[in-house]
Amino acid sequence: MMNNVSMLFSGFAVLFTFQNILATIFGAVLGLLVGAMPGIGSLAGVALLLPLTFKFNPTTAIIMLGALYYANMYGGAFSSILIGIPGDGPAVMTMLDGFPMATKKNRPGQALLTSNLSSFIGGIIGMIILTFMGPLLAEFGLKFGPAEMTALLLVAMTSIGWLVGENPTKGILLTAFGILLASMGMDTLSGMPRYDFGSIYLLGGVPFVPFVIGVVGFSQVIRLMGERHEETKLVVEKLSIKNSMITLHDLKRLLPPAIRSGVMGTFVGVLPGAGATTAAFMGYAVQKSFKSEEPLGTGAIEGIAACEAANNAAAAGAFAPLLALGIPGSGTGAVLLGGLMMWGLNPGPLLFTSSPEFAWGLIASLFLANLITLMISWGVIPFLVKILSVPTRLMIPIITVVCIVGSYSTSNSMYGVLIMFISGVLGFILSETGYNTAPAVLSFVLAPLLESNMRKAFIISRGSLSIFVEKPISLVFIIILVITILFPLIRLALVKFGVMKKK
């Protein structure tokens, strides 16, 4: 335990360089801005800013992205509270009490500060648990061979593809699509070119950055075209730091739900497919069974604290399987993982021993990002009215240009722009027709790892499937996999026979 603390301090030593601190501040500011603007979200934000990190060394680059992802969780609540439109998925629950507190109770500044403080508390709890759980998980991961890794990767992919979204079949279809796209180019084991369809460009495979910018960034801008005439109606005209201060009584109301949700949210964040949105929903649901001074949904401080602490803790908790096992829990995690791989780092059980400066530097940077984001989000309160008033129609050409130059810069060729364009249009059509594109991004990133482990497992077992059930760890994962697959089917049957209500 003490070793973890000393490693964390060594992480702070790595972190405290001028460049890394600047990267953390830059990531935090951008994350807050991207999160505050409704409709962009952390996934698109991280994807769009990925090319900007090319100039940095891997540690600085991922520190910036980590701060950006983290600050995004803070920013998502701003529009929920001041406009009544959630900036991202996790902020949906914040709106239930945040918006009434700003409008009916006429305490918009206090609602923002409650949200910021709860996010900070939840985040700190998540990071403390991550500090101890990450290395433990990595130690456990050292026992994994190809069979265990295959089973674990199948669980991660299935849980996101099968459980996220309304239609499991569509989730599986896109998971398979992402894997097939990733298998184009060179075969990872033999080096043999495959599925290049005679194109010299496809010999190198589908480039990750343009693909992800298209699927989550450009598709989002096309979608925004339909909303560009909608006017932003802010609940206040002016905000100041002085008028946003909360009382000691407010703080006493905020602390218990924030601490409770912080612990719970961290463990939800560790589960693949669950993520910050589920954590926020669960935090709010749990708060319902505890006493609140005012009823939830009427602008209760406890309601804001419960979901904001939970979603920030989940964002921190999600780093544990990402760093220790190389398994992202969400689409944004997949983009971060893709970024890590791009810089030659291989997250997994060996990361904590082979690149401790990186792993601990990143964890330390989350602590710093949490503190910096709290200060910035506090300081930015007077400017929020202006930031949130930027019309969508002005954002469209700016994001489009960033999508184009960002995807060009990865390969210095228009091929990158072409990939971004095709995946963007495809991503838009798919999301409009009820297909969630996050499983495609996740499977695209994890496919090479899954393929190499699966093939190695089959080489060891000489083609026998028994290798996956003979080893206890992989057997457990296979059982989880079967339960995951059966869960929507059982739910469907229960709804059909009237035992359960339809979602």
Partner: protein
């Protein structure tokens, strides 16, 4: 009794799983015939994994096609396609006048002609875009953007 002879139109809800079926079939065919599935001594070959996944995709697409009959189709307005069409325009213009100039024209035309913004708003947004592109991508990252035929000819 009147029998309905009205043909059901194929919508985008059916087109997507149909594309999935075609893509899955193509990957299975290439995987088995061209790249190889299994070797007795070497074990799984390069076509092994994509073929398995393609079978999964083909099955999921068939299921999605079957359930798509009950789904309502979606319709899009021209507004949604103006942006992709503009990007195609930028793509074509890049060969002639280069990427940066194409993007500059796109931003100005988009804001002035399409969004009917004032010159003040247009120039403010243009300045923001210029700072991002020139500041971050040209000066900081040093990205060599294509100059296009005309600028290359002038430079030579």
């Amino acid at each position: 009794m009147e029998t309905s002879t009205k043909k059901k139109k194929i919508t985008v809800m059916q087109v997507i799983p149909l594309c999935g079926i075609i893509l899955g079939a193509a990957f299975i065919y290439l995987g088995i015939s061209k790249y190889g599935f299994w070797d007795e001594f070497k074990g799984p070959l390069p076509g092994f994994f994509p073929t398995l996944i393609a079978i999964l995709m083909l099955s999921a697409s068939a299921l999605a096609l079957f359930s798509s009959r009950k789904e309502e189709t979606v319709s899009w307005t021209l507004d949604n396609w103006i942006l992709p069409l503009s990007v195609i325009g930028i793509f074509l213009a890049t060969w002639v006048i280069g990427l940066l100039l194409s993007l500059a024209i796109f931003v100005l035309v988009w804001l002035r002609k399409f969004e009917k913004c004032s010159w003040k708003t247009t120039l403010t947004v243009f300045a923001v875009v210029a700072v991002i592109v020139v500041g971050a991508f040209v000066l900081w990252l040093g990205v060599p953007f294509p100059k296009g035929i005309i600028l290359t000819m002038l430079a030579n």
